[in-house]
């Protein structure tokens, strides 16, 4: 992960009410928010943050920018992200919910070609406790420590973080990848990032039964991840209709994915699976003591 508390961060869409709240929360947590972007409002100061009309103007003023946090209306997210990429940014966190999936496909083709990391959309983003926040994690649930969290949920991530924090198991990084069907970076990308992260000793992976990428992650972990991993999959008892749309029925039929086998997939490769959030701290301690 190419991010530190000194990484330069911009917020695209800063002058909307929600975006401003997010930017200020990030800043007050210590994140180095160097600029906000809002076309037509360039030149202003917004709660102490300089505003530019274009990303390239911000780059011209403050130099290379490391991350953009995008909080734009859903149909403007693709353009905002492409603008950030065209201005040389290599890491983008999209908070906005409701980005059309085919906009994400376009964005991901470009992101892959330019080696840009996309987190989200519809995500709480990245938090490194006591260091910086890129997104909307409520900071009070976190405390620094050696546990990395990777999750497809937002609020459930907070629950897991809070269980760890209550048990005095601090976190190195917590990343919420986004709750939408098509998200920018996958479990696998982040398993790799946290496997290489010096501050992370153990990874907690929080999945959902409705999701589709967890079992892919299970085999990946067994093959390439050296650090211990604990999995927690919500919805294993809940009677959830996994194929609620015809489109997902077709997809599952053609690619032969079985959502039922998720927990088995982890257990097969000896990854401990928590039954509930409050199980996680003891599983973590067991793994760390080994």
């Amino acid at each position: 992960m190419d991010l530190t508390r000194y990484s330069k961060v911009i917020v695209q869409g800063i002058t909307e009410k929600i975006s401003t709240q997010i930017a200020l929360a990030m800043k007050s947590f210590g994140t180095n928010v160097v600029a906000g972007i809002s076309p037509g409002e360039g030149g202003k100061q917004w709660h102490g943050i300089p505003v530019f009309s274009l990303v390239e103007q911000a780059v011209a003023k403050v130099g290379v920018i490391d991350v953009s946090v995008i909080v734009m209306p859903a149909y403007q997210v693709l353009d905002a992200a492409l603008e950030a990429i065209a201005s040389g940014l290599k890491q983008i966190v999209i908070i906005t919910e409701g980005v059309p999936p085919l906009d994400m496909v376009k964005l991901l083709r470009k992101a892959e070609a330019t080696e840009t990391l996309i987190v989200g959309p519809n995500c709480a983003g990245i938090i490194v406790p006591d260091q910086f926040l890129l997104g909307t994690h409520p900071t009070r649930f976190y405390t620094p420590g050696p546990i990395g969290i990777i999750s497809r949920s937002n609020t459930l991530t907070y629950e897991v973080a809070w269980e760890l924090t209550k048990s005095r198991l601090g976190q190195s990084v917590s990343v919420s990848l986004g709750c939408d069907p098509i998200v920018g970076s996958s479990f696998i990308q982040w398993l790799q990032i946290l496997d290489e992260d010096d501050d992370t000793e153990l990874i907690v992976l929080v999945g959902e039964v409705g999701g589709v990428s967890e079992e892919v992650a299970a085999s990946y972990i067994s093959e390439t991840i050296d650090k211990p991993v604990i999995a927690y999959i919500a919805g294993t008892y809940a009677p959830i209709n996994k194929n609620y749309s015809y489109a997902s029925y077709v997809i599952n039929a053609i690619v032969g994915r079985k959502t039922e086998s998720k927990i088995a997939a982890f257990e097969e490769v000896n990854i401990p699976v928590a039954k509930r959030p409050s199980d996680i701290p003891s599983l973590v301690r067991n793994s760390l003591e080994k």
Binding site: P100, M104, F141, Y158, C179, I182, Y246
Partner: protein, 403 residues
């Protein structure tokens, strides 16, 4: 949002995908003004797979038979749904039937084009011999040709069927679809192709930029979710009457939203959470503690997402509490700080206003983490609600209250 066959075919036709001459039938008597020559096929316009095996498709040779068949189909529920419209279509003499579809793969995060030589009524058979091509980069017709070669087409059919896939992909992109399927694509003895049946699912997130599809969506919802809407109206009258404040347009989103997230079960604990993962986790925990969920509902509440519609929250509480079997309602909300005051007020108003109705029957457990819990306790004092911060405790409490 799924389109009905006749709506899908209208899009096919606009795009230049060949479809048979057809006519929409709103009433059996419309068949007397039929412009297509007999024999024709009459098809129930419902959203289900088993339309044919359940009697929703009939071939007829003349007007008398057609009117009779139409009456039968209009009165035939298919998986609980009555058709509002039938489609009358010319017959087609297909030599061969293919399956074609474009769909988005959430793992590879690219559209797939898929095809099978075993097209026809039975999708499951088609699935067995299905081939796929990932549209890795921007679409170009060669992706379609690759697929045609994979399923073993030869000669001129490679290009003529590729052309149909190309047009399907174009629709997929232009209209932001989740799925477009032609099954079967009929191939005549002369090698001409014809889309005999089709499915189109529109992505809900993208509906806002396709006003044409939005208006179709509105129509389908008012037709097909009629039962659901009726239920909601009953709630209106019996309890909060909030739904009547919501105009048609917003109630649609509301309902289609609930349709995805609201699940009804046979137990006695209603569950309302913010976030899908949290909802599933909470339901898991209730079941693990031997509790029986009556339903569960995920409502979006976050620190930065405005609680913009109080009515929506009221409606959500209504949905959870409506059924006779509900004894306990567990509200599990986490991570809202800025908006917790407002949520507390809503819960306060909801419980207060309807104390008389619910006090006897339903107890509430309100789990609030990261909000102002002491303020909640203070404000909700004297109402039939327990305010608890720890999730395990809240679940235990809800389960014990339900016993």
């Amino acid at each position: 949002m799924d389109l009905l066959e006749y709506q899908a075919k209208a899009l096919f036709s606009e795009m230049g995908i060949p479809v048979l001459p057809s006519q929409k039938i709103d009433y059996p008597k419309d068949l007397k003004r039929l412009k297509i020559p007999y024999p024709i096929v009459l098809k129930s316009q419902v959203h289900t797979e088993e339309r044919n095996s359940l009697g929703g498709i009939k071939f007829v040779e003349n007007t008398i038979d057609a009117v009779a068949a139409a009456q039968t189909i209009f009165n035939l529920p298919i998986k609980d749904k009555y058709p509002v419209v039938l489609l009358a279509e010319a017959k087609y003499n297909a030599d061969q039937e293919l399956y074609l579809a474009v769909v988005l793969d959430p793992i590879v995060r690219r559209p797939l084009i898929i095809a099978s030589k075993q097209g026809g009524i039975d999708t499951k058979t088609a699935m067995k011999s299905m081939q796929k091509v990932v549209v890795d980069q921007e679409f170009s017709p060669f992706y379609a040709r690759r697929l045609m070669v994979k399923i073993g087409l030869e000669g001129k059919l490679i290009e003529s069927v590729s052309y149909i896939v190309e047009k399907m992909y174009q629709l997929f992109l232009e209209k932001d679809l989740d799925l477009i399927e032609i099954n079967p694509l009929g191939i005549s003895p002369k090698g001409e192709v014809m889309a005999l049946d089709g499915k189109v699912s529109v992505n809900n997130y993208a509906l806002g930029r396709h006003p044409d599809l939005g208006s179709i969506a509105g129509k389908n919802i008012s037709n097909n979710y009629a039962i659901k809407q009726k239920e909601l109206k009953e709630i209106d009258h019996s309890s909060l009457s909030v739904m009547s404040n919501i105009n048609v347009a917003s109630s649609e989103t509301l309902i289609s939203d609930y349709r995805l997230k609201f699940t009804e079960l046979q137990g006695n604990i209603g569950i309302l959470c913010n976030g899908e993962g949290l909802t599933m986790a909470t339901v898991d925990m209730v079941i693990q503690a031997q509790g029986k969920p009556a339903n569960f509902l995920n409502i979006k509440l976050g620190d930065y997402l405005e609680l913009k519609d109080r009515y929506q929250m009221f409606a959500a509480l209504d949905l959870i509490t409506q059924k006779e079997n509900v004894k306990v309602v567990l509200i599990n909300v986490i991570g809202i700080v800025e908006t917790s005051d407002e949520l507390i007020t809503i819960v306060y108003e909801y419980l207060n206003k309807f104390k008389s109705i619910y006090q006897a029957r339903i107890r509430f457990v309100f789990r609030l983490l990261g909000g102002k819990i002491s303020k909640a306790r203070e404000r909700l004092l004297g109402l039939p609600v327990e305010v608890i911060e720890n999730l395990e405790d809240a679940v235990s409490k809800a389960v014990s209250l339900s016993e």
